[in-house]
Symmetry: C2
Subunit: 313 residues, 2 copies
């Protein structure tokens, strides 16, 4: 058992300029674990209601997602999110949120889960993130995601949570808001001073960047001509990243770099269709193909410029 995710399992209803879907399987833990399942076995810690049926269960089963710690409250309803995107797909407009059983979520970890090598603390209330983190003191790498809501409402608790993880994964607006520092490089330095060894910043259509004390790594995004539904892109990115890391013996800088590419590859597929539809039917070959494309469109030869040599020709 290698990778554990704590987060939300939800039903999403999404409208975009290109169509709409009712009650799709969504939530951070769903997007994360389906994405990660292409690289490793995933164990999900979440809560659902009695409306989480055979169809949804089958999706997790098909991707070998371990549901031992998926708590079911038969009398309750699963978390629902209703959202809309305009032509600018970078901005999600929340129409409605029904927390339902998610409102009382208290993550409960079985012994199997407590032995996880890698942990992803998805975007939930930071007190809960800290609680889970403390139940797995021996994990080799613990990553944390968050959102502006928790920066606004529970900043102190969030900062304490960040202090005790190895890797923070946020978008650039969140990194700036968290540190109150408009320059991303300075914001990164500040976050690393709090405790995490690594910061990964998601930049949407502009790619992603990774900061450690000694190194910097940055990649552009996969070029997409049509983005259909960006819901879950960040969790799908994290799933590819953490799933790939879980498959590696050594979690060094080189592995982290490749993991960022795999994360970006998975996110690029995610946004091409509604919900998890595209990612669900991915093949390993398609993933590797897009990984190779990343190499092709970022590669250049390192030939220092020497004026004298050129002039002599």
């Amino acid at each position: 058992m290698s990778l554990l995710v704590v987060g939300s399992v939800a039903f999403d209803s999404v409208e975009t300029p290109f169509g709409k879907r009712e009650k799709m399987l969504g939530g951070s833990a769903s997007h994360f674990s389906i994405s990660a399942s292409f690289f490793t076995n995933v164990r999900v810690v979440a809560v659902v209601g009695g409306d989480f049926g055979a169809e949804e269960r089958a999706v997790f089963e098909n991707h070998r997602v371990d549901m031992t710690d998926l708590e079911v409250i038969p009398d309750g309803q699963t978390f629902r999110w209703f959202g809309r995107y305009e032509y600018d797909l970078n901005v999600a407009h929340t129409l409605d949120t029904h927390l339902n059983v998610f409102a009382g979520f208290q993550p409960k970890l079985s012994d199997g889960s407590k032995g996880a090598r890698l942990v992803f603390l998805g975007n939930i209330q930071p007190d809960l993130q800290r609680d889970v983190r403390q139940q797995i003191p021996n994990a080799e790498l613990v990553a944390l995601d968050t959102m502006n809501l928790w920066i606004d409402t529970t900043r102190k608790s969030l900062q304490k949570a960040i202090e005790i993880v190895d890797l923070l994964i946020v978008n650039d607006a969140e990194a700036r808001q968290l540190t109150e520092e408009p320059n991303l490089i300075k914001a990164a330095r500040k976050i690393l001073s709090w405790g995490p060894k690594t910061l990964i910043v998601k930049r949407g259509e502009y790619g992603a960047a990774m900061f450690t004390k000694d190194a910097y790594f940055a990649i552009p995004a996969y070029p997409l001509e049509s983005v259909f539904d960006p819901t879950g892109a960040g969790d799908t990115f994290a799933g590819g990243l953490m799933g790939y890391l879980a498959s590696q013996e050594t979690l060094d800088e080189a592995a982290l770099r490749r993991a960022m590419i795999f994360g970006s590859v998975m996110a690029s597929f995610n946004v091409e269709e509604f919900g998890t539809e595209r990612v669900q039917r991915l093949t390993q070959e398609e993933i590797n193909q897009r990984f190779s494309e990343f190499k092709r469109f970022t590669n250049f030869e390192e030939i220092p410029f020497e004026r004298a040599v050129k002039a002599a020709r």
Copy 2:
């Protein structure tokens, strides 16, 4: 004689949160040619007034910029720009513009200039860009820069100018405005259908991307902890890019990729100090060092994921 630039030579007065400078040497042709001079000999076509003195002339001379086609109108005043930046350095606020001698600018090319191998049509009125382009029918590569002003006021003429160049260099907002297409990949496809073989899109702190019919290339920006004065960054980028190309025998895809890195390197230095101050005293070693850094912070190993192999370990 290899590289020609047509554009503005100006005196800039700039205020930023970090300080201010009066009457610095500026303008697209100045930033471009000083940057390009580190890679090749540059010939500048521009107009100045009697206030363009020995000090400014010395800057160009020190960088071996050929001033044969730098027209001097002794009774006139050089183009002046007065600008201010707030903490968000991405947005330039124009306080005042005195076109002065630039208002009647009619580029005049000597025979030497007409033999240029590479041409950069800096950001000036598109009719003038077309006029210059037609005077150099045999150039191997002609690049064009523009700005939102010309898209707003002279769209038809601008599009005709774009149709007869090889390379368009714009920022992403301009690419979208020009094509009325919010998706950059679609915008790029449209621009390439108009005539240019290559489109390079500048994305400020997010880097740059290059589009051709068959290929895509994208790079992040050099990570800067403090940006001091972004004035001229785009022209400095173009100068490094075109200057490097001029030094190469073959203008193929691989050379264009390296040229984008050199352009980004030059732009990263430009914004570290006011005006052309930092670029003026650059060394070839500093340029190559930063080029190598680009390789280090963008490089990753291409190892396809194979679950079976990993699981067997």
